[in-house]
């Protein structure tokens, strides 16, 4: 074996430690010490930290199989799909507000441009299928984890219960809060027909101002991330196994595929509206599309790839 050739220890560096913290826990548990030792030997500069952080993405998206058992791979898939799915759902909600909910002259536009009309129909159908799949696979698993976290007397696990309640409570609080705020800041008679270019997106024909809309969108994504993180933490702490996890993994595959289709349909509709009927869109500048399109593609890609890995694990025979 080759002799070690140590350099003066420089410490792994704060940046490298932060970058290492971006990796999945199982990856850190297996390789973390070795990476820290290598960084100490070779020096941990900004570039090394940036490359280390970059490789955390595939470590999540394509988790190494030898680091997880079959149920662990399904749970990791569920956590990743859950995060990507809620982001796609948030993007879908933004699309609805800025396209379908704009109203006004859309009836005439949709009759003239069947591509947009069909995109709306595909989007609606795919979103419904995806939500049903999440309910069909998610509710049994959630109930099983909830029973496990509630436990018998004295065995209650409050942290796990809080994680499990996050995907239920946080969206409800957000929806109630945003409804109240939208009612308070509503702009009377601010319809946008005929079209006039405005600098920032508006909610449903300008009923609330663009900055309020932006604030609600940001808060909505924050709520979505907290909800998905709660589910991921519950999966990690409670480590559920068995048919409920297999069912949820398969349902997550369907949900991811359907939400990916909805995202594709929304992209077609969004581009169609931008090109042919900007009066019916709540967005009027190309940068808004330039943000939306890659965000949908990235989230859909992560959801579908992670779901495929989970389904592959679900198909493998269970080890007794």
């Amino acid at each position: 074996m080759s002799a070690r050739q140590p350099r003066p220890a420089q410490g792994a560096g704060v940046l490298a430690r932060v970058a290492l913290g971006l990796y999945p826990p199982a990856w850190r548990a297996r390789y973390g010490d070795e990476v820290r030792a290598l960084l100490e030997d070779s020096g941990a500069g900004v570039r090394a930290a940036a490359i280390l952080a970059w490789h955390a993405v595939p470590a999540w998206a394509c988790p190494a199989r030898h680091l997880y058992d079959r149920p662990g791979r399904m749970r990791a898939s569920l956590a990743a799909v859950g995060m990507a799915w809620v982001l796609l759902a948030g993007l879908a909600a933004v699309f609805v507000q800025l396209a379908q909910a704009q109203g006004s002259s859309q009836t005439l536009t949709l009759a003239s441009y069947p591509v947009i009309q069909w995109s709306y129909w595909v989007f609606d159908g795919a979103v419904i299928i995806s939500v049903l799949a999440v309910a069909a696979g998610g509710v049994p698993l959630w109930l099983r984890m909830f029973r496990g976290a509630r436990g018998a007397r004295g065995a209650r696990r409050p942290r796990e219960l809080a994680c499990l309640l996050a995907p239920v409570v946080v969206p409800v609080v957000y929806l109630a809060g945003s409804t109240v705020i939208a009612g308070l800041v509503r702009q009377p008679a601010a319809r946008v027909v005929p079209w006039q270019p405005r600098p920032v997106a508006d909610l449903a024909n300008g009923m609330i101002g663009p900055w309020w809309f932006l604030a609600l969108v940001v808060a909505g994504f924050a709520a979505a991330v907290v909800s998905a993180a709660g589910l991921a933490l519950a999966l990690r702490r409670l480590r559920p196994d068995g048919p409920a996890v297999v069912l949820a993994t398969r349902a997550a595959g369907l949900a991811a595929a359907a939400m990916g289709l909805a995202g594709a349909a929304s992209i077609v509709a969004a581009i169609g509206l931008y090109l042919w009927a900007p009066a019916d869109a709540g967005y009027h500048e190309s940068w808004q599309l330039a943000v939306y399109l890659p965000a949908v593609l990235l989230a859909a890609g992560v959801a579908i790839i992670s779901a495929a890995r989970g389904i592959r694990a679900a198909r493998e025979p269970a080890v007794a």
């Binding site: 990476v35 030792a37 030997d41 470590a59 190494a64 680091l67």
Partner: protein, 108 residues
């Protein structure tokens, strides 16, 4: 031109080639690859590769009391390296033959 080489070199193959000589830990692998092949792998790249190779059963870790755990090539890794080396050798042979014929290249 070494920076350019970094973009074309295949890190998994470099790691397999390094371990074909003897078991090595992370720092020794990066040093060997830098010294013999002129490519400097960062910690992030190296451990992404090690994770993939270990997952595919091409390398395996050895016991170690130190944080610097050594790895060695498995039989499957040796087979994979042999196949890839043969393929690269064929490409190199064709390239060198054509360079000699068409560009007067005398060889290294």
């Amino acid at each position: 031109m070494r920076d350019r080489l970094d973009r074309w070199a295949d890190p998994p193959l470099l790691v397999l080639a390094s371990l074909a000589e003897e078991p090595r830990h992370g720092y020794a692998i990066t040093q060997d690859i830098a010294d013999t092949m002129g490519v400097r792998l960062s910690a992030g790249t190296l451990y992404a590769v090690i994770s993939r190779l270990e997952s595919r059963g091409l390398i395996e870790p050895l016991e170690s009391d130190d944080r610097r755990r050594p790895y060695r090539l498995t039989a499957a890794g040796a087979t994979e390296l042999a196949e890839q080396s043969e393929r690269m050798h064929q490409v190199a042979s064709v390239a060198q033959r054509r360079l000699r014929a068409n560009y007067g290249w005398a060889g290294a």
